[in-house]
């Protein structure tokens, strides 16, 4: 079995991990004393049956069986990402709580690495099976500091039934890449149809939080080729001209004609609620909406496709803390939680898996835990209402989700991401105010503010 082979090979990998302080160091850790490995992770608010905890339980059963003396324990953090980050930073900097493994949002990896709160890991912990774009979220300064656990990417959800009623022939928008001008035309068609309860063509997350940053980066990256606000070392390196093009694209997407006005106050839950309630025909959202929306809609009503233009990559990566007294075993646990078997389980439960094999290898099945597989009880009551493919994966996973992840772009990578996103969100708020400034003016202000937030 793949996992066993992986673990067998891990012993030598982890010896390398212990020596990342530099070749030949004699100050490596002494022999680890078996004991508890504490895993800190944000509360799973999206109802995936505690699949993460099930995987940890499965690892614990292995340890018990082998009588290793190790036991992993999950400590749940608040659902709010800001509070998770604050607790992880504050606790690891000060020592107010002890964690061995931390689950980091992809945008936090540079910060935790630069602050030396997490350890460098052997690069071999991320094999070729991990989707390339996803793997790139795990490194900083040329070293691997984390291993991708679950990914995320922006997707387009839409009402197939309304498109059909509006006379659109091909209502499967995932067949060929969609452009924003094609989407505009479809929005116009639905506008003309004006179904009952319908208000505007689309909605997304533009309230003053991370959702606005995500949507803006998607617009900016679509408008400017190879756009990135920061270089590989985290330095701010955008130009006012690039920013102006990005602002223009964001403005075009969010102008009044098609956007639900509430979108500028919406987060994930609000925008999903508006779409589910039939107020819009299109929705930009994450993969977890697939499971939820199919509780409301059937396959004839709901479609999903890659976003037109570029989509932002999200997700979370597991890292070993600098302060962990059981770093070797912690890395072993991470290897298990991010292995092929586990990733397939995560995919079945509704997460975006990080490994290609989870999407492509039909022989790979989730045998961990109790209920992530789409089994039906004899009464016919399903554990979830997601459409599944022949191999039991969510139906859209291989044809739509995997390509979307591969093409996704990252948000700026900088150890000062907190300052960046706060500034970016605040400055772009002007676009949704009463008297939005011109593109060039807003771009110049944004440039000035970002230079201050990310000083040379």
């Amino acid at each position: 079995m793949g996992v066993r082979r992986l673990l067998a090979g891990l012993g030598c990998l982890l010896l390398v991990a212990a020596c990342t302080g530099g070749g030949g160091s004699r100050s490596g850790p002494a022999v680890e004393v078996p004991g508890e490995i504490v895993v800190a992770s944000g509360r799973d608010v999206t109802g995936k049956n505690g699949i993460r905890e099930q995987l940890i339980d499965a690892w614990n059963r292995q340890q018990d069986k082998a009588n290793t003396g190790y036991h992993a324990r999950l400590v749940e953090l608040p659902g709010s990402a800001d509070e998770q980050r604050s607790q992880l930073l504050g606790a690891l900097q000060s020592g107010s709580a002890s964690y061995d493994v931390v689950n980091l949002d992809v945008t936090w990896v540079p910060e935790f690495a630069a602050a030396r709160l997490v350890r460098a890991l052997p690069a071999s912990m991320i094999g070729g099976d991990v989707i390339k774009s996803v793997a790139s979220t795990a490194s900083w300064g040329g070293k691997v500091y984390a291993v991708p656990f679950n990914s995320d990417v922006g997707l387009l959800y839409y009402r197939r039934d309304w498109l059909a009623r509006a006379g659109v022939q091909q209502t499967d928008l995932s067949r060929s890449p969609l452009t924003w001008s094609q989407l505009d035309a479809l929005m116009s068609d639905v506008n003309d149809l004006d179904p009952k309860g319908y208000e505007k063509a689309w909605t997304t997350q533009l309230a003053g939080y991370e959702g606005r940053t995500v949507n803006a980066v998607e617009a900016f990256a679509s408008a400017v080729d190879d756009f990135s606000l920061t270089g590989s070392d985290g330095h701010y390196d955008a130009t006012v001209d690039e920013l102006a093009q990005g602002v223009a694209e964001l403005r075009r997407r969010t102008e009044g004609a098609y956007l639900l006005p509430d979108a500028v106050h919406s987060d994930e839950a609000a925008s999903m609620g508006d779409f589910a309630a039939g107020r819009t025909a299109f929705l930009r959202h994450w993969p977890y909406a697939y499971r939820t929306l199919f509780q409301t809609f059937g396959e004839q009503q709901l479609g999903v496709a890659p976003l037109p233009g570029r989509a932002v990559l999200g997700g979370q990566n597991l890292a070993v803390t600098e302060s962990s007294p059981r770093a070797r075993k912690a890395a072993e646990l991470i290897a298990y939680l991010t292995g092929k078997q586990s990733e397939r389980c995560l995919l079945d439960a509704g997460f975006a898996a990080t490994r290609t094999s989870a999407y492509r290898d039909d022989g790979l099945r989730c045998t961990t835990g109790t209920s992530s597989a789409p089994s039906a009880s004899p009464t016919g009551e399903r554990a979830d209402s997601m459409p599944r493919d022949a191999a039991g994966r969510p139906k859209y996973a291989r044809p739509i989700l995997l390509p979307a992840l591969r093409d996704a772009v990252q948000r700026p990578r900088t150890p000062l991401y907190g300052a960046f996103t706060q500034t970016f969100t605040a400055q772009l708020g002007a676009l949704f105010g009463d008297s939005p400034p011109e593109d060039e003016k807003l771009a110049a202000d944004l440039d000035t503010a970002l230079r201050k937030a990310l000083p040379d």
């Binding site: 504050g90 630069a114 030396r116 106050h265 999903m272 609620g273 909406a289």
Partner: protein
């Protein structure tokens, strides 16, 4: 041979100084005392090093009084980052054993144990270890400077070290000698000279520096503790030298000694001399019996109290702000800042967040490189929950052991700073704190800002004469309101959730009023609003209600609580009861046991934020949000622009709330209507198998909410599945009082059934059951239905109407807990049922654990 020129390379200087020690004499095993002078060493070196243009300011890392682990971490980082020159400086106590060639650099946690044969030094770093760790660095040259007792003993170790070629060693004193740290207010004698030389004009190499240091020390005529002439030492391999400082010339003049590449400095000649010639021979190796274990910078105990005073002053002034953790592995110039976790009262959250945002980008939070010194995250939690967690749950907050009680998840991050809405909260915590608590509070004496709790009356039914708006108890104001407008109502937010509502409750209960009667005055259909701002924005949902409802809210909301999304509320006039204490935002530093990894830096960061909040910056934010001064006059901070309905000077305003008064009001509120009754309905149909396990699963959420129920409350649990002719539920826990353990066992034993659920039949049965129980009393009741909505197909049309009708008539609130996103969206059955019953609807987009626990806690009395 030219000295090594590190300019333009990635260089690092790590300045480590231990001025404070945890264990000092006369405590057994203590070091002689603190070393205030060392603090100045670090300040001075940090100041002069960048001027030499070899190290950029961002390449200098200062580590103050670290523990051994932190020292190692900083050393490892510096070693990894340096590519050109790595300078490591240490000042602090040094000690040597009698039976080995070793020098111990004593870190903050150092202790001394004298054994029969030899002594041991826990908490100290062996110089051998330092050299070995440095060996791992890629740096081309490594300069080590030691300013401590027995520094010269490091020479022996260097000489035996295989990879000494790259390492140049400078020691403050010859071997086997202790030295005096000098005056508390200045750097130590050796470092004083060192810094002066580094600050001087002209290029300076290691060799030149060593030579000139020896000359200066000799000229000063200083002696070691044993009376020898004080003589700094240095060690290098032959021909090795390094450029340490090359400041730009201040005047245009020819260089002292020219060189073609312009690199070598005036001391080139010296650098070519063999090291032996400069050190005047090695100190003779003394018999080991002479090497004693007494690490002894002199200075002693007399300095301890002084250092405490200095620290206190620094904390108060918000000074002393060198970054501890400027650890950078990348090209970006700013290190990630220290993160402060700031917990506050829900009513205060918008203002404290605005203040933190302003502070983050202010000059006070920006260092010389334009980098942020501190990052801040502001969050809030229910006020009663926060008090309870700080009082009784700090141990599990620090280390949560089970899924059911986890403040890290349910309250939020472990706060470094807590800003409650009343100083009485601090007393409530400390008075009832468990002996095993692991968080200590230190409240600032003066609150940050003040806002009275007022009765905000719609203008149309407000009292006209100014005099009647002040100087009367709340009961009188309410009576007068009723007399003026019979249809008028009064609302108050949830007293468990925010302090302002609890303070209002003090006035509401007054002296001797029956809480149950008082509560009827503010009774409302459905759950109370959580915050005062929520209340003001919920009222306009029904314009008829808005125009005849007075609200008990803090005065500042008459200024900020005006703009509600999508609604305009009726303008209101404040009446100022004289028996309701006001909101007083109070800054409290929270220190967690063992959270000293970043030394005093966290204290200083908190002190800086406090100083800013108390100063002009913070005042401007509180002024904008309609607060008053917390000092005696209680004047409006923005006296020019007085909000509609607010009195400029409504004196007399009342004194601060008392601890016991608040505790007692909360207790009486919880008991106002007697113990509660809760009937849980847990969907255990087949589809729940995907939402069963873990703390976010159905049983996990149910168990977490049991914390809100006490021994006097009654409750039961039904497992809901079974359709057709079968009973729609199975009793998992019979109705009655239970211990939490007993209830948890029953829930743990529950399993998912191979059946569908009939929510229609189950809810009708539950509402009938509860209506029957509540016939003879007014005790609070609640039905909780935890479900994945899979069987909502049985809640359509007529079936749904049945349930809605029964929910309205039974007068038992139903909290619907939907484990899927969007379960409470407009028009969904869950939303309609909870709405009709006056209960709350929670779905997976909410924080389900905390939300359900709040609902249950409001129904139950809980434990005292």
């Amino acid at each position: 041979m030219s000295p090594f020129d590190p300019r333009g390379k990635a260089n690092r200087a790590l300045l480590v100084g231990v001025s404070e020690y945890d264990v000092r004499k006369p405590t057994p095993h203590g070091v002689p005392g603190d070393l205030p002078a060392v603090r100045h060493n670090l300040d001075r070196l940090k100041e002069v090093l960048p001027g030499g243009r070899v190290f950029g300011a961002h390449e200098v890392t200062v580590v103050r009084s670290p523990y051994q682990h932190d020292f190692q971490r900083a050393l490892r980082t510096a070693a990894e980052e340096a590519e050109g020159l790595l300078l490591v400086y240490f000042a602090g106590h040094g000690a040597v054993p009698s039976a080995a060639n070793e020098l111990f650099l004593q870190m903050r946690g150092a202790e001394v144990y004298r054994g029969r044969q030899d002594s041991v030094f826990p908490g100290a770093e062996m110089f051998t270890t330092v050299l070995t760790m440095l060996h791992a660095s890629r740096a081309e040259r490594i300069v080590v400077v030691l300013d401590c007792c027995y520094a010269g003993n490091a020479a022996f170790i260097w000489e035996q070290f295989p990879d000494r070629r790259r390492v140049l060693l400078l020691m403050s004193v010859q071997a086997n000698n202790r030295i005096d740290a000098g005056d508390d207010g200045t750097p130590t004698p050796f470092t004083k000279e060192l810094a002066e030389l580094l600050a001087s004009e002209g290029e300076l190499t290691f060799g030149g520096l060593s030579e000139r240091l020896r000359d200066r020390m000799r000229a000063a005529g200083l002696r070691t503790v044993r009376g020898e002439e004080w003589e700094p030492l240095s060690r290098t391999e032959p021909q090795e030298d390094v450029l340490l400082s090359a400041p730009p010339k201040r005047v245009v003049a020819p260089p002292d000694t020219g060189s073609l590449d312009g690199r070598s400095g005036p001391h080139r000649e010296e650098s070519e001399r063999p090291p032996g010639g400069r050190t005047r021979g090695r100190s003779p190796r003394l018999p080991r019996r002479f090497l004693r274990a007494l690490g002894a910078w002199f200075g002693g105990l007399r300095v301890v109290s002084r250092i405490a005073l200095v620290l206190l002053a620094l904390a108060t002034l918000g000074l002393g702000s060198y970054g501890l953790s400027a650890l950078r592995t990348d090209g970006s110039s700013c290190a990630p800042p220290l993160e402060l976790r700031v917990l506050t009262d829900p009513d205060l959250e918008p203002t404290v967040t605005a203040a933190a945002d302003a502070y983050l980008t202010s000059g006070d939070n920006t260092d010389g490189d334009g980098c942020r010194r501190t990052g801040i995250t502001v969050y809030s939690a229910g006020a009663a929950d926060a008090v309870n967690a700080l009082r009784r749950q700090t141990e599990v907050w620090k280390e949560p052991h089970d899924e059911d009680t986890n403040p890290q998840r349910d309250i939020g991050p472990q706060p470094d700073v807590w800003i409650p809405a009343s100083p009485a909260d601090v007393a409530r915590v400390t008075a009832g704190q468990d002996t095993d608590n692991v968080a200590r509070l230190e409240a600032a004496e003066q609150p940050l800002a003040y806002s009275p709790v007022v009765l905000a009356v719609p203008d149309d039914i407000a009292v006209e004469p100014l005099g009647e708006r002040t100087g009367q108890p709340l009961a009188v104001l309410l009576k007068q309101l009723k007399a003026r407008a019979e249809q008028s109502q009064v609302r108050r937010p949830d007293p468990e959730f925010a302090d302002a509502a609890l303070l209002a409750t003090l006035g509401l209960y007054g002296t001797g009023t029956d809480p149950a009667r008082a509560e009827r005055q503010v009774a409302q259909a459905g759950p109370p609003s959580r915050t005062a701002a929520d209340l003001l924005c919920a009222l306009p949902d029904d314009t008829g209600v808005d125009s005849r409802t007075a609200a008990l809210v803090p005065e500042f909301l008459l200024r900020t609580g005006v703009g509600c999304d999508r609604t305009t509320r009726a303008p209101r006039t404040a009446e100022y009861p004289d028996d309701v204490p006001g909101v007083e935002a109070t800054f409290v530093r929270v220190r967690w046991d063992d959270a000293d990894r970043d030394g005093g830096e966290r204290d200083r960061a908190a002190a800086r934020f406090h100083a800013w909040l108390s100063g002009d910056g913070g005042r401007a934010v509180f002024a904008r949000d309609g607060f008053r001064s917390a000092s005696h006059g209680r004047e409006l901070l923005d006296a020019r622009d007085v909000a509609h309905g607010v009195l400029r000077d409504p004196s007399p305003l009342t004194e601060a709330a008392g601890r016991q008064a608040m505790e007692s009001a909360l207790k009486r509120y919880r008991r106002a209507n007697g113990p509660g009754r809760v009937l849980y309905l847990l969907d255990d149909s087949g589809s729940m198998s995907g939402l069963w396990d873990g703390p976010s699963g159905g049983p996990g959420l149910l168990k977490q909410s049991l914390g809100g129920l006490g021994g006097a409350d009654e409750y039961g649990v039904w497992g809901v599945s079974g359709t057709g002719g079968k009973r729609p539920y199975e009793e998992l826990l019979g109705f009655g009082p239970h211990s939490r353990k007993e209830a948890e066992r029953a829930v743990d034993a529950a399993t998912v059934r191979d059946a569908e659920a009939d929510p229609h039949a189950a809810l009708l049965a539950a509402l009938d059951d509860m209506r029957g129980r509540g016939l003879d009393d007014d005790r609070p009741q609640l039905v909780v239905y935890i479900t994945d909505d899979e069987d909502d197909t049985r809640l359509t049309d007529g079936n749904l109407d049945d349930v809605l009708a029964r929910a309205r008539s039974a007068k038992v609130p139903v909290t619907m807990v939907s484990l899927v996103s969007g379960g409470c969206d407009r028009g969904k059955p869950d939303a309609r049922i909870s709405d009709a019953s006056g209960g709350r609807c929670l779905d997976a987009d909410d924080d389900l654990g905390a939300g359900l626990t709040d609902e249950v806690a409001r129904t139950g009395m809980g434990e005292d």
